[in-house]
Symmetry: C2
Subunit: 345 residues, 2 copies
């Protein structure tokens, strides 16, 4: 790609042109030659969007809730970007069963930009592509970028780690759902929504979450002391928090009941999200947490970029070494040591 074309695309995105943004998103999807030059050209115009991660088990009603949030942010005049991430599918956005069809009404709205993503491939490829698309939508002028993930695995944790605010959606009636919302997710949850709150069991789900926050909080403090997980230290709800000065107080994730299909509870949810946003912008501790997340995301990007470059140069050697190991001509440690010689200092 010529420098002139890179500049042209970047300027188009920065002017808020939908076509230019769509073009750059496709370059990013394909990891096409020149996509990183364009991202680099966009860099000075990024860093303004509020990035909200939305995660939770399949069936919790995330897509419907995201649809409502788009509507609410549009009503307040914000341009909205959506990155829908589905790591279990090699096809764009769960196309097989088309569960994202509900969002389609926003496709008519020039103030909404929706991209699906399912890149798997290399280590960390998914969270990196998501982060790249977030940057494009940020540069395009989205005041809010919603990043929706399909499940609650490590991928999702990594994706939400790049968000400023993470919304975890639960719903009553999915028996083992709470069981699956384990401590890893607690660690990154800033707001909980209990969707489908008109169904039996909503209050029980709220109580389960409260219990889990209380149990998980203590356990996470212990984990942080043992040095597990950089984010764990950010989560210390309950008594120890109360004792501290408000300015130094950690964030305790509120639990909001809502019904995405009717819109009940949406104002309370918007308000809870907004409160976290203000906390992370306007208090010293909130700012520190936000900076930690951003630094972690950038460090992951840097490591992945260097690893990719190494793999491009030495991928064939890695494969040849793997074949020797599988034929039992050598062992993995001997081959790893030999390969590390390709990476001196």
């Amino acid at each position: 790609m010529t420098p002139a074309r890179v500049a042209e695309l970047a300027q188009g995105v920065a002017r808020g042109e939908v076509r230019a943004a769509a073009r750059v998103c496709r370059l990013v999807d394909d990891r096409a030659p020149g996509h990183d030059e364009v991202l680099r050209a966009l860099w000075p115009t990024t860093g303004r969007a509020w990035v909200i991660g939305v995660t939770g088990n399949p069936g919790a009603g995330k897509s419907t809730l995201v649809d409502r949030l788009i509507g609410a942010f549009r009503a307040s005049g914000e341009k909205v970007g959506v990155v829908a991430v589905d790591p279990t599918s090699p096809f764009t956005g769960g196309a097989i069963l088309g569960d994202r069809i509900r969002m389609q009404r926003h496709f008519e709205d020039d103030g909404v930009f929706i991209r699906s993503i399912a890149t798997r491939g290399a280590l960390g490829g998914l969270s990196r592509s998501a982060a790249d698309l977030v940057r494009v939508l940020d540069a395009w002028g989205a005041g809010v970028v919603l990043v929706e993930t399909v499940g609650v695995g490590q991928d999702e944790l990594e994706v939400t780690r790049t968000a400023h605010t993470t919304l975890v959606v639960a719903s009553p009636g999915l028996g083992d759902e709470i069981q699956a919302i384990k401590a890893g997710l607690l660690e990154c949850a800033d707001v909980f929504a209990v969707n489908k709150a008109d169904r039996d069991g909503a209050d029980a789900t709220v109580r389960d979450l409260e219990l889990m926050i209380a149990l998980g909080g203590e356990a996470l403090v212990a984990a942080a002391r043992r040095g597990l997980g950089h984010g764990a230290a950010a989560f210390r709800p309950g008594a120890p928090t109360e004792a501290r000065d408000a300015a130094e107080r950690e964030w305790t994730p509120p639990i909001v009941k809502c019904v995405a299909t009717t819109g009940v509870g949406l104002p309370a949810l918007m308000s809870a999200l907004g409160a976290h946003h203000r906390w992370s912008r306007e208090t010293p501790l909130g700012e520190a947490r936000r900076r930690e997340r951003e630094e972690r995301a950038i460090a992951d990007f840097l490591t992945a970029t260097v690893t990719d470059a190494w793999l491009r140069r030495h991928g064939a050697s890695v494969e040849a070494a793997a074949r020797r190991v599988v034929r039992r001509e050598t062992d993995p440690w001997a081959e790893a040591a030999a390969l590390s010689r390709h990476d001196p200092e």
Copy 2:
């Protein structure tokens, strides 16, 4: 760790001593100094176990089914290893809600060795720790190692990629479950179990899976042609397969109905698993597929090992670079280029 201690531990494991195996598993969990020397000493005694991955959504009844499978393999005289992987929890084996308590009756049996794992940390850390534990249980003399994962995300895909046979467990009544068993999982599924088959909707779940295999198969062939995913090419069910010679025929995953709580359907499930095992040992194509999976797993190990070594040397530089980027003193691409200079050739 002294070479004598390494040899002593490795010999203890190879003799089938439970205490030695437990000691080595702890070293692996902690990634303690010397753990890789012990793994390396164990290497010549590995490669004999049949590794079966068991995955599927929370609530499908995986733990109960794994408990049944342990019993069935024990009844046939095999020593059995179990690695229970829970990537969403920083705590061992979902300890908060203790859902693995059902397996406890096997703790009394010296021919069964169960380990939980929840290591997160670095890129690919989970699948690597799981692979290491599988090697320990293999060296300890397990004829079968069951690797149970909690969900259906990318982690699980990576973990099951190291298995010889992957069992995907579904169950009726979880509305969006099928939706979550997306193509990524189809790609690695060798056998499907529809558990809780005495409930309403079991036949519908079987039909959904059949439909998904038919749809997904075609789509995966298309994906393979576009070069997406190394495993995709291995999956071509339906008509094109029938036309070929039996010796060259790809594996089409059977769907087996069962009720883990009562044991109904277990013989059919054991038989389906055994049929895949024989296919992967006794047909040229099956052998080729097995070798591909093993080579992929070893290549991942080698890449992760080299990356880890690089991060140990340059982690502080990465963090300093990330701080500069977040302060907007520089951009991520400039820093990545500078860091790549630490990795010449």
